[in-house]
Amino acid sequence: MRPIIQYFLPISLVLSPFILSAQEAVLSGIVRDASTGKPLHGAVIITVNDSIGATSDLRGYYHLSLPRGTHRFAISYIGYQQQIATIELLQSHERNFELKPFANRMDEVLVSAKEKGESVDDPHMSTVHLAMKDIKDVPVLFGEKDLLKTIQLLPGVQSGGEGSTNFHVRGSDGGQNLILLDQATVYNASHLFGFFSIFNSDAIKDVQLYKGGIPAQFGGRISSVLDISMLDGNKKQFSGESGLGIIASRIKLEGPLTQDKSSFLFSARRSYADSFLKLAKSKDMDNNSLYFYDLNAKLSINLGKRTSLYLSGYHGKDNLKYSDLFHIAWGNSTATARLNHQFNDKISSNTSLIYSGFNYQAGVSSQQIDFQVASKIRNAHAKQDFSYYANANNTIRLGLGALAQSIKPANLSSDKNQSVNPTTIENQRGIDLGGYISHEWKPTTDLSLQYGVHVHDFIVLGKRTFYQFDKNGKPVSEKRDNSRIAKHYINLEPRISASLVLNEQSSLKVSYNRIVQNLHQLTNTTASLPTDQYVLSSPNIKPQRVDQAVLGYFRTFRNKQYNFSVEAYYKRLSNQIDVRNGATLQANTYFEGELLFGVGRAYGLEGYLRKNSGRLKGWISYTLSKSRRKFNGINEGKWFNARQDRTHDLAVVANYALSNSWTLSGTFVFNTGNAVTFPSGKYLINGKSIFYYTERNGYRMPDYHRLDLSVTYDPHTTNKRFHSSWTIGVYNAYNRKNAYTIDFREGKTNPNLTEAYKIVLFGIIPSVTWNFKF
């Protein structure tokens, strides 16, 4: 194996030296919320005279190189009062700002946010930032606000099914999204078979979704990165917030540990048993014990002027029990420790130790059968990231990381009656050594570049048995590998994005990225089940890979009140995985023989128009797309539509402030039905009419459309300590009978004829939520 450092050498040669000119000085510091002390991400600091500006990053940190002299600055952030400051800048200087929020949110009109990826001169593209505010204003099923349902309303992001939190980005599979909660991988983001996500909106600060042009610091999943940050606690004063909904109740407590220095945040959510399944008209589900809960906690500690420590964690669980016959429980846990240090006004460092895990146990017990299945997946990740802000036109980021991953596949155990043989499948273990370097560079005033590379050495650890299979999936040989390392998969992933400003309002952007994936999610069902199997790359399973190119046009209208973008993307997918029909994946030593490997391609056009301010806010997103796959052994080796292939996807999200207290929200979605396999013929065998299929995913589900509405009453009684609001919503307002699945059965009158029928999951569903703060 060649050492990773070799890949870095050519890149470091490319980088030119960054010298701050003698006439310049640097102003840097942190922009915070004056009432909570929380850093503000995306605050704009700009010189009043010549409009030289910078935007604060996730930690509220900004950095600005200016000619020496006296400058007048305007500091602004959406929903906050603008501040004007005059600073004499004779040498590099640190200055923090605290902005006061407006008491009344109607005034947010005054400032428009400069969001990453959506602004005209930023090289990032295919990127959407959502603040919790955006998410809280979108009406949803059962009134349970959910960021994973909100991102499905963005261009290029599709819902995994009616009411589902699963999502597909640009024609990819659900298991190809990297979901990070404070940098920790979330393996299974769903509660209750996907109807809710594990992200309690109370505990989330903001969300960044990368669909393309993915920056070099991210890697590991080929389709997208959903980077979710947990909220920091209030450093100024103690406060609480609670909500009662029809599905779950929530409580959040936050406050200072040491005034202005450190804070805590704790939030919890628990569902009420099975109330929603009764509404779902599924009679089989009536007598269940069924609940989920989520716990989030975060500590933010200032260890001096330049150093901060963040400790955060999540734990959640689902439990479903079916009258002693069947039970299943699953859950995620994550823990993140991040030490942020500002060496000087140019160099900052983040050192992180991260753990995440997911496990499930399922069991069946009756008089004759009694067995348990259990599986566990875990990783521990250590990483070090540096940012070097050389000057206003050059920023370098680099980092190194080591991630140890282990999978304990589903094993069968039985303690009573011995009705099954206990089986133990060997654990899979791998280590991912990675590093990246990237350079954000503004060579001219019109051109911005971000380019870099991410390198992985994925090490398949040995001390286990590997098998070889013939083309029918039968094991032909087995070999015990006693060495420490069974195989290396080394991959170099170039990333580049660029923006060319055409005029003050518009720009062209282009990007390319390659990403590989070494953790694969296997699924052959339409439902989202926690029992989906994960596997690591192995001698048989090669890393999945994507090459994606994107071209986009961005523009703003009406003094940045409106953002508009259109993007065209093309993706080439390699080493894709599918499962043989009838395959048993669990407790099967030879499960790798049940896998089929193929290629894919996905392409599309996305349009996005967003209104950021005013009484009416919201967006329209439209996607025209295609996603195809090709596998030996499926569809006679010919190209076929991926299940998530849809031609049209439209979402309209609108929010209208009727008055200071009343807000009306609505969402309308329309999409072409998913590609689906229906029979084209039938024949009789052994008394059964058997369906004859001619093509994989050759048919379409009916078109899907739905309107959701909600109204929020929020009397902004800012003077009182106690504050409450009501939201009343209705899902599927015109009661559209969208088909969840279509099945076939023998005709009731003539069994020689066959009829199709559809299953509808949700008709019109009302909801009510009461939220209060104290």
Partner: protein
């Protein structure tokens, strides 16, 4: 609801489940029909159908009616390898199968399961699975003298060598108190099991249903199986 489905071109279907239940063996040759058409009941006439064993005994099947080709003096024996040869309009189809031995059933019964206030009945068959060999079972069921229809297919993947109970019910018709059922239990080879297992996996939750893989050459639909079989008569409890 109405769906506009394509009409697939007809393919030859060979339904050949032979067994040692009697010395009369039936093989049905037909063709597939479009999804919205009535099932083909007349079958294909004029085919040549024969089965040969590995000791060179040749059994020629004679056409009777509705696509059935019948041999009235052929009782297969466990352990022998049988080869099917079918010619339909100059097209040759063939397959082979080694007949597994029967695994005796120790006890039968009726099991009741109450789910959601409703009682579901199952015929149960309890037996000792032979250890250290792969065993495959398939079941058909007749209710109150009706036709035998496929019920379910099982393997011993998770319970090899153990005392095992199989629960049998019809896939489409619930059993009621007072029903008389006949369970036909086939000990089948792996390919037959795979065929029926793929069939039973083509259910609602399957993201991509596909044709069960046939063990017959030349793209025929259906399968060829020679199995050991026994029947069990049961009455659902009052």
């Amino acid at each position: 609801m109405d769906l506009d489905l394509n009409k697939a071109a007809a393919r030859v279907v060979i339904d050949s489940q032979l067994s040692d239940a009697s010395s009369v063996q039936r093989i049905r040759i037909s063709h597939s029909v479009g999804f919205d058409d009535p099932i083909n009941t007349s079958g294909i006439k004029g085919a040549t159908v024969s089965v040969k064993d590995n000791e060179n005994r040749l059994y020629s099947f004679q056409y009777e009616k509705d696509g059935y080709y019948i041999h009235r003096n052929f009782k297969p024996v466990a352990g022998r390898i049988y080869t099917l040869n079918v010619a339909v309009q100059k097209q040759q189809y063939s397959s082979s199968c080694q007949m597994p031995a029967y695994v005796a059933v120790d006890s039968t019964g009726i099991s009741e399961k109450s789910l959601n206030g409703k009682t579901y009945f199952f015929a149960t068959l309890t037996f000792k699975d032979p250890a250290k060999v792969a065993n495959y079972y398939s079941y058909t069921l007749s209710i109150n003298g009706g036709p035998f229809r496929f019920a379910n297919a099982q393997s011993d993947q998770f319970n090899d060598g153990l005392k095992v109970t199989h629960y049998i019910s019809d896939l489409e018709t619930d059993l009621f108190s007072g029903d008389e059922v006949v369970v036909r239990r086939y000990c089948v080879d792996e390919k037959t099991y795979r065929y029926w297992n793929e069939y039973q996996n083509n259910n609602l939750s399957n993201a991509a249903p596909s044709n069960p893989k046939s063990n017959i050459s030349n793209n025929a639909l259906g399968y060829f199986s020679v199995a050991s079989v026994k029947e069990y008569q049961l009455k659902i409890g009052q």
